[in-house]
C-alpha cells in the first residue's frame, strides 16, 4: 500500500467504468435469495443436530475417553488455518509492494473475517456445557495455551473485521449515488460505513496511517494465532504432536489452505460477477505460482515432520508413523499427501494448469485435502495414548465420527459460506478506489474504454 494517495483518480473517467462494473452485481437479487434460502435450510438441519447434542451431551459424538478431540478440533484448526490468508495477501504481499494483489485483497479479507469468526463458534461446538464458556474468561489460567488461543482468535478476528471495514471506506463514499438499484437499507448501511468520507487528502492520509497500523499488527497476531493453535498440540509429549517445528508447520499449511480458498472465490467472482476484466487470467497465473511456493514450503515441513521420526522409529512415535504410513489411516494419509500437496505441486509447474478452470479444480481438491489433513493431525495421536487401553468397550479404541457431529461440522462450514456470500454480494468485492488509483497512475496501460 502506497504511503500517499493521488486523488486525481476521482476526476478520471475510468472511475465511472470501474465503479459501475464492480457495483453492478451488488444487491439483493433472485438468485442470491435462492442461494441464501438453500443455505439457511441446510443450516437449520445442522442446528437441529446441535440441538440434539445440547440435549444429550457429547455422547452423541464419536468422542470417548481416549479420543476426546475429534472432528470439531480438526475443523477448528482448519478454520483458523484458512483465515490466515488475509494476513498473507493484504499484509505481507501488499506491504512489499506487489500491485497484483490489489484486486484480491478484499477477497482475502472476507475469508479472514468469515473463517476466524466461525472458528470461535467451532470451538464452542466441542463443549459439552457451552453455557460455561464465560468460565474461560472468569477462571482461565494465563499459563494455558487454551487461554492464549482464545485471546489471539478474538484479536485476529477484530483486526480482520477492522481491516475489511477500513479499506472499504473510500468505496462506500464512491458508491454514494451509484447504488440506486439496491434496497434502501443497504444504501443506509453504505452511508454509515463511509464514516463521512469526502475524499479529502487529509482523510486519505489518516486512513492510510490507520490501515498501515492494522496491516502491521495483523502480522504478529496471525503468526500468534496459528502458532498458539499448534502449541495446543505441541506442548504435550504425545507422539505425533511432540514436535518443535509444529508452529511453522501449521503456518505454512495454513497458507496452502488459504491460497486455495482465495483461488476458489476468485473463480466465483470472475465468472458469476463477470469481473474478468479485474480478476484476470494473469492473476490466476500469479496465484498459481503463490500456491506452488507455499505448497513447496509446506512439503518441506512435512518432510521434516514425518521423515525424521520415521528414521528414528522410537517406540511410541513408530506406532504412530506405522498407523499413518501403512495402518488404519494410511489411505487417508497418502490421499491427502498426494492429492492435496504433491500432485498439485507438479501440475502447477505447467503454465496451462495455472489457467482459471484447472486452478479452480486444483484449489477445491487442495482445500478438501487440507481439511482431512487436520483430521490426520488430531485423531491418530489421540488413538495411541501412552497408557494401555484396557477394559474398555471396543468402540472406544478408534474414533468414528457420528452423523450428528458431521452435521454440526457441515453447519459451521455453511455458516462460513453464508458470511462470505453476504459480504461478497452486498459490498464491492474488489476495492474500487485502489483499482481506479492504479489505472489512473498508468493511463497508457489502461484505456478509458
Amino acid at each position: 500500500m502506497a504511503s500517499e494517495v493521488n486523488t486525481k483518480f476521482l476526476q478520471d473517467k475510468r472511475l465511472d467504468r470501474i465503479a459501475s462494473d464492480i457495483l453492478r452485481p451488488v444487491g439483493v437479487d433472485r438468485s442470491f435469495l435462492i442461494w441464501m434460502s438453500s443455505l439457511s435450510m441446510l443450516l437449520f438441519v445442522c442446528l437441529y443436530a446441535y440441538y440434539i447434542q445440547l440435549d444429550k451431551g457429547l455422547i452423541v459424538t464419536g468422542m470417548r475417553d481416549y479420543v476426546s478431540w475429534g472432528m470439531y478440533i480438526s475443523n477448528f484448526v482448519f478454520f483458523v488455518a484458512t483465515s490466515l490468508v488475509g494476513m498473507l495477501i493484504s499484509s505481507v504481499l501488499g506491504m512489499m509492494g506487489y500491485k497484483w494483489v490489489k484486486p484480491i485483497g478484499r477477497i482475502a479479507e472476507i475469508i479472514a473475517v468469515a473463517f476466524s469468526a466461525v472458528a470461535g463458534i467451532v470451538i464452542v461446538s466441542d463443549m459439552g456445557r457451552p453455557e460455561r464458556l464465560a468460565y474461560v474468561f472468569m477462571f482461565g489460567r494465563i499459563q494455558s495455551p487454551i487461554l492464549w488461543d482464545v485471546t489471539v482468535v478474538v484479536t485476529y478476528m477484530t483486526l480482520s473485521i477492522l481491516l475489511y471495514i477500513f479499506t472499504m471506506i473510500p468505496d462506500m463514499a464512491i458508491s454514494r449515488g451509484r447504488i440506486g438499484h439496491t434496497p434502501v437499507w443497504l444504501q443506509k448501511t453504505y452511508e454509515f460505513l463511509s464514516f463521512n468520507f469526502q475524499h479529502k487528502p487529509e482523510q486519505y492520509k489518516i486512513l492510510l496511517k490507520a490501515v498501515r497500523i492494522l496491516l502491521i499488527m495483523i502480522v504478529p497476531t496471525a503468526f500468534a494465532i496459528h502458532t498458539v493453535t499448534s502449541w495446543l498440540f505441541a506442548v504435550t509429549t504425545r507422539p505425533g504432536w511432540d514436535s518443535t517445528i509444529f508452529g511453522p508447520y501449521f503456518l505454512t499449511g495454513a497458507f496452502v489452505a488459504g491460497s486455495a480458498a482465495v483461488i476458489i472465490l476468485m473463480f466465483v467472482v470472475r465468472n458469476s460477477y463477470k469481473l474478468s476484466r479485474y480478476i484476470t487470467v494473469e492473476l490466476f497465473d500469479k496465484m498459481g505460482k503463490l500456491l506452488f511456493l507455499v505448497s513447496i514450503v509446506y512439503f518441506y515441513f512435512n518432510l521434516n515432520e514425518y521423515l525424521v521420526p520415521a528414521y528414528k522409529m522410537k517406540t511410541f512415535e513408530a506406532r504412530h508413523i506405522i498407523e499413518l504410513f501403512v495402518g488404519e489411516h494410511a489411505f487417508m494419509f497418502w490421499s491427502v499427501q498426494l492429492l492435496g500437496l504433491i500432485i498439485p505441486m507438479i501440475l502447477l509447474l505447467f503454465k496451462s494448469m495455472r489457467k482459471p478452470v484447472p486452478m479452480f479444480i486444483i484449489a477445491i481438491v487442495v482445500l478438501i485435502a487440507s481439511w482431512f489433513k487436520r483430521l490426520l493431525i488430531v485423531v491418530p495421536t489421540m488413538e495411541a495414548p501412552f497408557l494401555p487401553k484396557q477394559n474398555v468397550p471396543d468402540a472406544w479404541m478408534l474414533y468414528h465420527p457420528t452423523i450428528v457431529e458431521s452435521a454440526i461440522t457441515v453447519g459451521t462450514i455453511t455458516m462460513a459460506v453464508m458470511i462470505i456470500s453476504v459480504l461478497m454480494k452486498l459490498f464491492p468485492v474488489i476495492p474500487i478506489w485502489e483499482i481506479a488509483e492504479e489505472e489512473s497512475a498508468h493511463p497508457d496501460q489502461h484505456p478509458v474504454e
Partner: protein, 299 residues
Amino acid sequence: MILKSTFFVVLNFVAVVLLAQTTPWEVPADRSAKLSTAAFTDQNRNTGKDLYQTNCKSCHGDPGKNNVIKLVPPPPDPATTQLQQNSDGSLHYKISEGRGAMPAFKNIMSSADIWNVISYLRSYNKDYRQLLAVKPAYGGEVFDKVDLKLTADPTHNAIVAQLTGLKGSLVKPIAGLEVKLFAKRYFGNLMVDKPMDTDTEGKALFSYPKNLPGDASGKVSLIAQLSNEELFGLVRTESTMAIGLPTDRPPLNEPRALWNVVQKTPIWLLVTYLASVLIVWGFIVLALLKLRAIFKLGE
C-alpha cells in the same frame, strides 16, 4: 545381551506371578485360631462397611458383584468361598500382615476395627456362626478404667508411657504389658523404637531419634497403644510434643509455576502475555481513534 536380560526379566516376572498364585498363604496356628472377644453386632458391621469402602473396595470391589480389580493373582471377592473359608483368625492375620499387593493394615486400622471389617465380610456368608473368645482377665484384677499417658524426657531423648489402672479412687500402675509408640504420618504410622513392656511402676521407656521430622515448630504427633487389645479393649493415647526437627517446607503449590493456579503465574509469562495483549489492543484503539478523526474531517 539386551534380549537375554529382557528374557530373564520376563522369566522372573512369570516366576513371581506363578509363585504368588500357587503358594498358599500360611497363617501361624495361634493366629488362625484367634477369635474376637466381642460379638459382631449391626453397629460393628456398619463401622466395618465404612472401613471396607475406604480401605478395601478399590481392589476387592463390591462384595458379591465380582468387580474386583484385575491383578495377578486377583484379589478375592468377599462373598466367595475362597475368602469365606478362612477362619476369623486367618482373616485377621491376613488383613493385619498383608502379602504382595495386599497392604498390611496393622498400623493403619486398630485390631478392633479389623474385627469390624471381618464382621462386615461375614455378613455375606449365610452359614457363618460366630465363635467368641473368652475375654481374658489381667491377673484376676478388674479396673474401672485403664489409662495411658505420654510424657517427654528430652534430656534423655526419651518418651515415657505410663500405664495405670483406676479402681474407685485407687490408682495402680500396671506392669508387664507391651506398649507400642508411633509417630503419626500419612497412611500408616511410623513405629518409634521397639515395642516395650511396662516396668513395675507401669512405665515404658522409648528412645526416639533426634532427626524425627516434625512440623514447622518441630512438633510430632505421637500415639501410644497397648498391644493387647483383649485385656482392656483399645487403650490408646495421642499427644503432640516438640521433640522433632522443625521442617518448614513450603507447600508444593507455593511457587509461581506453569502448572499452578492463575494467581501463581510466572512473572515472565504474566508480563509477556499482558504486554502483547496491551500493545496489540492499544494499536487497535489507535486505529479506531483515527476513524473518529476521519469522521470529524468529513463534517
